[in-house]
Symmetry: C3
């Protein structure tokens, strides 16, 4: 049964998104325009980067099918998992294009110019959606769509700000987003979860917060599309000369984290040698997260494999040991275990990126060291406007600063936003992990009717007995 | 139980498709050849358009996984939905290549030449399969495979004729097929449905004509692949200079129709604020349909968003208000609601295309106005053989003529074909929306056995009681 | 219930894969390096073949989603089917890159050089994974992960050796791998199956070795992604001038085998005119297998259609007649029916390739005959180092030699490997086709508890009766 009280936040979501779409249209009308490659009157010299389209589509599949189905493992929450992933990601794409363009213009003192749209805007927007979906992994099943919507609005702003600081202040490279996407998304989401929901009725929810055969199979669809297309995620924004390295490194790291997830899982579970779907659905992906930062660097095939194995092991240890520990000690609730898949492997990836930067003498990349690390160009070289004359050590230290800044901003802003959204539209814990409070379906209504009848029976057993007597 | 009467149309389908494949091989042997790009003896100057392959594959996924799984929402009809989508689409691809090549040669007075195959033939054939699958959306569950096959043969012919009229007579542009694919497919299918099936036992079928959790989740796979790859559908045949605009406009329109589908749905349903899977599975896609015609035009990012929102709202209103009204008043039965997803948004797209054409001064597109609207080239300019010296108003009016012609031809030919196929191979209404009359599976046989035993019990209760006594 | 005895091979798998990953890292560290296209210090002249990436991704989807979900039709074995496909394919990719590079260097007398990695290494590795997954199709449900792992290690070595013999000794062309992937994989797997498992308790297993509605729908996901992306499989390694032909021929052949699978199936089944999901999930794909060898040749559109129909018919006859016959007479057990989908259509494809080669006069391909058939170049032409001065007849005969060699090596090595792995880690027949012996899940534990209680009841009916008395 749905109480009157829960109708109201639902309708507030309707009005909020309706009004928001009007705001979005006005903002796009006032502030955005087609980029030069889309302008039919453009001169012949403009390069058209539509060749990024196949990788964009792979990333698109990761966001909408990958994350969407990965979260459908909850057996009574599949409609919500895949559908709220759908609408919130669509809202994120609209919003992130504007926000990312705004910060770009702000940092380049070009706020008087319009935001220019092209395929790169869409890829960056999908990256933002990835971060938001990672955050949601920590809280799904426990928050209302209205809360998700509000969290998204703020997260996208802070996410783009954090990336701007990392790129423009620390000149950090983070090709696959180990820091700016995965680490940020995970710790922001965990902070929100901690600030807004520390479940009291754990046992009562556990029955719904679990999988069955079909929900696990649907989740595998999400897993596999994420796993297969991860090289496109890491490589979509790479310059052509680095894209090939990204692909090889990412495929190798993923193959290694897949194998490591299986053997670590079978080793750590109580029934030794048996596998658990949670690790297969999640830890197999950790290699893609961890190799992100250094995927375009010359880490060598063995380096990619090593990062992948480390990430797979770390992730399974997270699921089997660290997550229960954090739940028990500080009451940190993490629905999908994003700390294990995105949080710790993201930090690992940030550190691996710093190590790779520290061990990159200028000669390793030939002429192109400043193409890979812009701040390592000479200060006065006009070809590299971001050149700071850095050496390998400078770059490595700044990679670490970017990682620490990301952690600080993510956790700080997450706590604030989590505290804020806990003040309104809160879901009662009895409504968690359950589709039937958000969806109309005859099956749900029968369930409710049965439940009501059951209650009626308890209240008035005689009458019901008469009804069912022959 | 399957009556003898229903065995016969099944075997007729077997023979029909078997003989048809022989006809197809002969026709390909006599009338088709590899296009110049596939000819190993070609001269060096021939441009190879195989770079369209990634977008073709996206469209391919839309046809076979997208439409296929979108229709699997029927809980007892999943085998048939995805499998008949599969075979009829494969048959359509074979047939549409020939038909499209025939009309092309007929209109260019080159019927003495062979039909030339390349990747564009496959893309056009997939577009035809899209139209056929849209039509089938109105009738699936109610028709036999034999009827589907016959309908397809005729629909492909009329579809290609209608497009030829639109392109060669009205010089209409319709990049994403709002008119020539979606409007045609929807109204043809609705006309067939109206002409052949006006269900009498609605209530009896309703139990089977519904979804359950798993069938809804499978349908979401279809939805998401359609939604993600729609930019490829709208852009697959666009010239390189317009493809980038198609992608941006389509992604924006789809994001808006996704959001609009959610908020309109929660507003329109009886349980206010709750969502219904039907709208999420369908109306989220309406933006892709509606932006089709104008996706390559300079409609501006805000224009794409506006079209998307309008389409999403219109589509949900269709599902919740217009479809029940049409069912009640004129007995129009529309299994998947194609009127709401493809019909009305297609017409909206056609009108939006006309408005965009009307507001396109020559200067907007610089030198390229005749690249976008061929008839707007100067009559004597050899670079634009289709140049008619038209202005924006001429183009807009002809866009509308093409839309009206499409509606007239689709409805007219659909009524005719529907009347024709209602004369043979008709399915008894008791067999609707049910796999077990078309598929062998031990589970179905158990069901049938149980049903037979049930009947036996009613006929001879004593004997059965004896059997079950210990 | 799981006996102690079955715990042990499970833990052996854990240790084996753990140690193997260490071996892999060492081997990659010692023997592998980035190829020239990935080298940041490369000179400008190096061609980057990263443009093969979209087709690689399609092949990747075929391996991990295609084969993975195709095997999920087993209703109680879905977790294992999709997950073991996942890890064994990931292990294959790692291993095949090294093995393929080793044989390549061995045949070119360059064993002193490092193995060079680029996108082509990944595509070839995915092809090896395809062969391994085909072999597993014959044995899944009946073997332990440890056995799969050991089989894979040896199969990859022999597979690459066989291909080297075919390519470097017989100069055979086999663009889509009809012989070197499908025929080899199928007959190797069948030989392993025959050598290690001839089931005794057929009837007892049959209940688990079957599908239900949901498992069939998941299997259709695998089917459709294989079917759609097959042109990429056949074309991924084709030179640009031949890729377009591969795409057209493969799409046509697949459309024909789809139609043929439907009509042949409805004709061959006991309930005439009804369809069976097995044929739809499998025989629809046979056209892709059979057209593989000749997909880049000038077989003409009608030729591609004819091969497709023949393969579809042959495959269904295999499922309905040949497979039961082989089971009955020689006890050959073939879980997924790979003999019907990959074995016989692969041989058909090899023969079709030989016929195409025999009917290819030099003029048919203009200047490029030696681009298609390297051995047909003049012996002293420096542009074609493999030129042997062969004519069409020489080429055709050598195609057949390659086919026969493939059959001999596959069956011989398969028998040997199957005999070897039957000596350890064997699964008791009671554990076949059942996830619950390999996976921890609360639902499985409840099942086990219920089963134990049931046994207790049989042992001590009185006590249990008392418990259940009211």
């Amino acid at each position: 049964m749905v109480s009157k009280a829960s109708d109201s936040p639902r309708m507030r979501f309707v009005w909020a998104t309706f009004l928001w779409q009007i705001v979005i249209i006005v903002l796009y009308g006032k502030c955005a325009e087609y980029g030069p490659a889309l302008d039919p009157t453009r001169s012949a010299g403009v390069v058209d980067n539509i060749d990024k389209y196949p990788m964009f589509q792979d990333v698109h599949v990761m966001i909408f099918v990958g994350f969407g189905f990965l979260m459908t493992f909850l057996k009574k929450y599949g409609y919500s998992a895949v559908s709220f992933n759908f609408i919130i990601s669509a809202l994120t794409v609209q919003w992130a294009i504007l926000v990312s363009g705004f910060w770009h213009n702000a940092w380049h003192n070009t706020l008087d110019k319009l935001i220019q749209l092209d395929i790169v805007s869409l890829i960056k927007a999908d990256f933002a959606a990835a971060a938001v979906m990672i955050s949601f992994g920590a809280i799904i099943g426990k928050v209302s769509p209205l809360q998700m919507f509000v969290i998204m609005i703020f997260e996208v702003i802070v996410l783009a700000l954090n990336e701007s600081i990392g790129v423009y202040e620390f000149y950090a490279v983070d090709m696959g987003g180990s820091m700016f996407v995965h680490t940020f998304g995970a710790y922001f989401g965990l902070a929100v979860s901690w600030a807004m929901t520390r479940p009291a009725k754990g046992a009562a929810n556990a029955a719904r917060n679990s999988s069955d055969r079909n929900s696990d199979m649907f989740a595998m669809i999400g897993t596999l599309f994420l796993w297969m297309f991860w090289p496109s995620f890491n490589g979509a924004l790479a310059p052509p000369t680095q894209q090939h390295r990204v692909v090889i490194n990412t495929v190798l790291a993923l193959s290694a984290s897949c194998v490591a997830a299986f053997f670590t899982d079978a080793f750590m579970r109580k029934k030794r040698g048996k596998f658990d779907m949670v690790s297969i659905q999640n830890a197999t992906l950790a290699g893609g997260v961890a190799v992100g930062s250094s995927s375009d660097l010359v880490i060598g095939p063995w380096g990619a494999l090593t990062i992948g194995i480390a990430a797979g092991v770390l992730s399974v240890v997270g699921y089997t040991r660290i997550q229960p520990y954090l739940q028990r000690t500080i009451g940190l609730d993490d629905t999908c275990g994003v700390h294990n898949l995105h949080g710790m492997p993201g930090v690992l990836g940030g550190i691996a990126g710093a190590i790779s930067a520290a061990t990159s003498p200028a000669t390793k990349y030939g002429q192109s060291i400043a193409e890979v690390f812009p701040a390592r160009g000479a200060e006065d070289d006009p070809a590299y406007p971001d050149g700071q004359g850095w050496d390998a050590h400078d770059q490595a230290m700044n990679q670490l600063y970017a990682l620490l800044t990301t952690l600080a901003i993510a956790i700080g802003s997450g706590l604030l936003v989590g505290w804020g959204v806990s003040k309104f539209g809160k879901f009662d814990e009895d409504l968690w992990y359950d589709d039937k409070h958000m969806w109309t379906h005859e099956d749900f209504e029968e369930e409710e009717a049965t439940a009501e009848e059951g209650q009626a029976m308890r209240r008035n057993p005689e009458r019901v007995t008469q009804n069912t007597s022959i």
